[in-house]
Every structure is written in C-alpha cells, then in structure tokens.
Subunit: 346 residues, 2 copies
C-alpha cells in the first residue's frame, strides 16, 4: 500500500539500515549514499511511519498539555508558548482541555498516560487534584506542573511569583502618592489569588499603610466581580484612592463602574490589574498591569519536562519566575504630573 523503508532501500540500491540512518541523520552514512537515499525518498514520495518509529524507539515524540477550557489570555499565551517550544524541539503537542476538575482528573489526561500516548505531560490547570498528581507519581509518569504550587505534593514545577507581583503592583500604586488602596482578589481556591493578596498586604505594611479589611473585596477574576466590588464601595460612599485588581478582567469591571459614575482615572482613582490582557493597552486610559512571563513559563516548562524525561532531574525542582509591572495610564507614576489633562477621563 504505502511506500516503506524497504522500497526506498531497493530504489536507492542500499539496505534499509542505511535508509534508517539517513532518516535519523546518523553521521555514519557516506555522503554519496545519503544523497542516493534522499533522492529515492523524494522520487517515491516516502513518508516515514510514526507509529513504527515510536514502537522501535520506545517513545512517542509527543508531549501532553492539560489545561482548563477557559478563554483567558494567560492560558492562551502559555498554550502558545508551550506549543512553540514543543515544536521547536521536533515534537508534537497533544492538548487535553478540562471543563471541570472532575473531567480533568478522569477523562483525557488519564487516558493520555494510561495509553502511553505521550512521553510526558505538562499540567497548567490550577485546580488539579492532589489525587491525580499522586497517581501520576505512583505510575512514574513524567510530568511537570505549570503555575501551581502544590505544597502537599513534591513535584517538578515552574511557577510565577504571585506574592512578588502583588507586592510590586501595590508598591507602584503607593509610588503614585496614593494611600487608601483597595484590592479585589481572585478566587481564593487558587493559590495565586492568595499570594497576590498577601503581597498586597505586605506592601501596605512595609510602607506603613493601614490594612483596611473593608477595602479588600472577594472577586473571581471576572469583569463582573470588579464591577460589583467597585459599585459596592461607591454605594458605601467609601471610594478608595486606588485599586489593585487581581487580574485585568476585574480591572475592566472597575473601569466600567468608574466610568458609569464619572470617577476619573487615574486622577480620582488609580488602578492596576494583572495579566497584561491585550485589551488593557487599547483602552483609554490604558490599563497598568502586571505582566506574567508566559513565554518563559511555557518554554521552561517544556525544558524541565524534557530534562525529567532525559532522567536529568533528581529531585522535585521548582523554578520560580518573576512577573513584571507595566505602568500605563491608569496609575500615577512618580514623575508624572497627576493632573495632566491627558490622563483625565471623558
């Protein structure tokens, strides 16, 4: 049916091993013969059979990525970075989305390693169950955790320092000369939310500012939660001078509420988000934010997994990356006149 390595060998007048060597660009093939093989391949339109190669070599050349099925720029960016890194290493990416934790633990990712479909998996889902991770460990299936601290279980992982991000975001607000700084948190089931909140608190403490629990609202990484929190403060007549939102979505909600009540940003209200959502830079005023190293997260995650696969990793190493504050127009920078008309809104 389809042309195989024997057909190529016959056409080239050489043995299959020579053909195989060319396929795996082994150095021990005379250049003259290599050309003959290449020519035969081209003439026959030969395509190596991946299954056969995998079987013989004992690996799959594929990496699995488990991630939540949510349309979020952070997730997307990491996904792109992982795919690119995997591709650049000559491998392929198999994606397994999980709508729920339940689905995640049992359906696809399970099959992915139960059927030996991939050489190893990366797990981006923040709500992966400990049980699932333990199962992977028990089965000695290679994996790396992305952006999650699983304190209970030792596992190789690449994370982003959310405490640092929260601290820096708050500090950059403080640097604008503002004192009553509110925070709208993300869902507290995520460790990242908790860390950002802690960073916020620590910054306030370090700069001698009061921590007002009434200015800490519980959000859930949604536009709506930001809108509601801000509306709550407005209705209470307790409008903060600045808001550190747990993510940009939340910040967009704050902007929406502020715009509705003619609260000028950043003169009356300074604002900073988190995640560097692409929309942020297009709004007027443009949203200050904390940019996560998504590209590095993806790339280093893949590298770490590859090292695990190569057996180069002894213990459960954790790589921690630092996010970066991006100041745009919703914050008042130190050197920026706070009443510059360019920064007033509508």
């Amino acid at each position: 049916m389809s042309v195989n390595i024997y057909d190529v060998a016959k056409r080239a007048g050489l043995s299959v091993v020579t053909v195989s060597r060319v396929l795996n660009n082994s150095p021990k093939v005379r250049d003259y013969n290599r050309q003959k093989v290449l020519k035969a391949m081209a003439e026959l339109d030969y395509k190596p059979n991946a299954a056969a190669r995998n079987l013989a070599k004992g690996d799959t050349g594929m990496i699995g990525l488990v991630l939540p099925a949510v349309d979020d720029p952070f997730i997307s960016q990491v996904l792109f970075a992982v795919e690119r890194a995997v591709r650049e290493r000559g491998m392929f990416l198999v994606t397994a989305f999980a709508a729920s934790d339940e689905e995640l633990s049992h359906a696809n990712p399970g099959r992915m390693f139960l059927e030996n479909r991939v050489d190893g998996i990366l797990i981006l889902s923040p709500i992966i169950s400990e049980e699932y991770i333990l199962e992977l460990k028990k089965n000695r299936f290679p994996f790396v955790l992305l952006d999650q601290h699983h304190s209970a279980v030792q596992a190789p992982s690449v994370t982003v320092d959310n405490f640092y991000g929260g601290y820096q975001a708050t500090a950059s607000l403080i640097a604008g000369g503002v004192k009553r700084i509110a925070h709208i948190s993300g869902s507290t089931i995520y460790e990242s939310s908790v860390q950002r909140l802690e960073g916020y608190k620590q910054a306030l403490r370090d700069y001698g500012l009061h921590i007002d629990e009434e200015l800490i609202a519980a959000g859930n990484f949604s536009v709506e939660s930001g809108y509601k929190a801000m509306m709550g403060w407005i209705e209470l007549g307790k409008i903060p001078e600045a808001v550190f939102a747990a993510d940009d979505n939340t910040a967009f909600g704050v902007m929406d509420a502020a715009s509705k009540h003619k609260i000028a940003i950043p003169t009356e209200l300074a604002l900073i988000g988190y995640d560097d959502h692409p929309f942020g830079s297009m709004l007027h005023p443009a949203l200050s934010t904390v940019r996560q190293p998504t590209a590095a997260l993806g790339k280093q995650g893949v590298d770490l997994l590859l090292n695990v696969l190569a057996g180069k990793i002894k213990r459960a190493v954790t790589i921690t990356l630092k996010p970066e504050v991006v100041l745009r127009e919703t914050t008042r920078a130190i050197n920026r006149p706070s009443c510059d008309p360019n920064y007033s809104v509508s």
Copy 2:
C-alpha cells in the same frame, strides 16, 4: 521493561489474542475469560502501547488541528469544541499553532502529515495558502476546512454564513428605528469580513437605506481599529446613529471612543458587534452581538473529517451554519423604549 500483552496473557492463563480481543472489546470472548483478563491487567498495572496498536491497525487515533496563535474567543471556542468532539470519539487532538501564514504552511502542519502523525487534519486558519491545500489534496491526506470558503479549491469544509450574520446584525439595527448606520469592517483579506460587509450593504438596500461609503471604515478586528474609526467620524462631525462593528473587539473600541465623548449608547448611538465575546455581556451597557455557532462548527468539523476518513464522503461537501443575533443593551429593540434611562450611559 514494561508489562505487555504477553505478560497479561500468561497471568490470565490465556493467549495474547484473547487479551487483544478484550482490549478491543470484541464480543467473541467468553465473559468468564474476559474477567480473568481484566483482573490480570489490573494486577499487573498493564498499559497498552499506543504505538504498537497504531502500527498494527494502521491508524494513529489522532486528529490534527491547525489554527492561528491568536488569543481570540472565536478561535478558543472552536478549539475547545474540536478538542471535546475528538475526545468524545476516543481520539486525541494534536494542535499546531501558526503565528504566520509562512509558519503555518511549512512548519508544523506539514510535518503532521509528512510524518503520518495524525489520521487527518482540521484547518481553522483563515489565511491558509491555496498552495498548502493543494499539496494536501495531491497527497490525498484527509482534511477539512473550518470557517473558510476556498472558492478556488474544492475541499470539504464547515463554514458560517457571514453574509447572513452581517445582514441580520444590520437589520436588527434598522429595526431599532435607526437610519444612518455605519460599518467598521474586519481585515478584508478575510473572506468573512467581505461577507459581513456585503450582508450589511444588502440589508441597507433591502430596507431602502442609502449606502454611504464614508460610513464604511476599514478596520482589522481590533479594539484600536474600532476606536480610531469612531474617533474619525466624531472628528469629521459625521457621527452615525448606529454602528455595526465587524467583531466585538472593534465594538469595544467604539464604546471606548463614545464614552470618551459622552455619546450615550444606545440612545445616541446604537451598536452591535460580532462573535459574542464574553466581555460583551458584562459591560454596561451590555453589547449586542452576533453569536457564531462555535460548538457546532467544531463538532461538525470533526464529524465531517471522520466521515472523510471513513471514506463516506464522495465530493467536497460544504456545511454552512448560521450565526445568531443576540440583542442586549447597545441596540434599541423595537419594543424597547429608546429613551429608557437604564440604557443611557454615564
């Protein structure tokens, strides 16, 4: 090293074929024996080797998806739908993102079929080159086009009726009692943009409205392009009564500009976008839009490809799906008082 089918057979006291039959749940295994096999598998923690199965069966159990690496809800939603459909059919999804057309044509997707990594591929990228498609056809590699009309090349595809969407969006604006309706198009290199524009024009014609070329702005599916277009009309003193934006991003830009100039939506300016971006429903006012059947697109795409793989498809069929107008607060519906204070902005 790892436990294989022979180990299971030995443990169960049966032959490998019986074990294989159980694996493929063939009916011709006595239930008593099936239990023995299952028990042995569990005891030995047996995991079938996918490569070996693929080699023996002649397929890979994998579907490839080629798509652009852009963070866009439409893309994400189709991706989720495809992954789910693929998973539900017991297969796996291999994703290949392409940052550019160049990268798309030559790098990953090429390898995907050159190495027989997948049984077939779905192509979501709107800017796939004709050359690439022809190469797939020439190689008789099974594929299905998603959301793209490739008039030049006959190929099985699932598309969404953008003309219809543009027409309905415009018609819904007209139904609100508005006459001077502007349009901000998407990049005209996309057939979808052209179709939406044509639908818009046809609606104007059908309702006896004048087509004013000055009210047709060239956008590119970005917040910025919407902002600029709207600002352009404002500066020209030629503010339309309504805008049909080629996508929600563009509409967000329009809202931003309107808010900056205290133009009330929908009383002074009615607005409708396209794509049903999750943000749209969270804004105040909530954005009216055209929802694309992303779930159906993904699912039917997979089904069509599977039919192609099964050899059930004779000619290059094209399935066309219809989008759906979602009216929220930025449009004035017929039965809705156009001056209701709830709909005025800031």
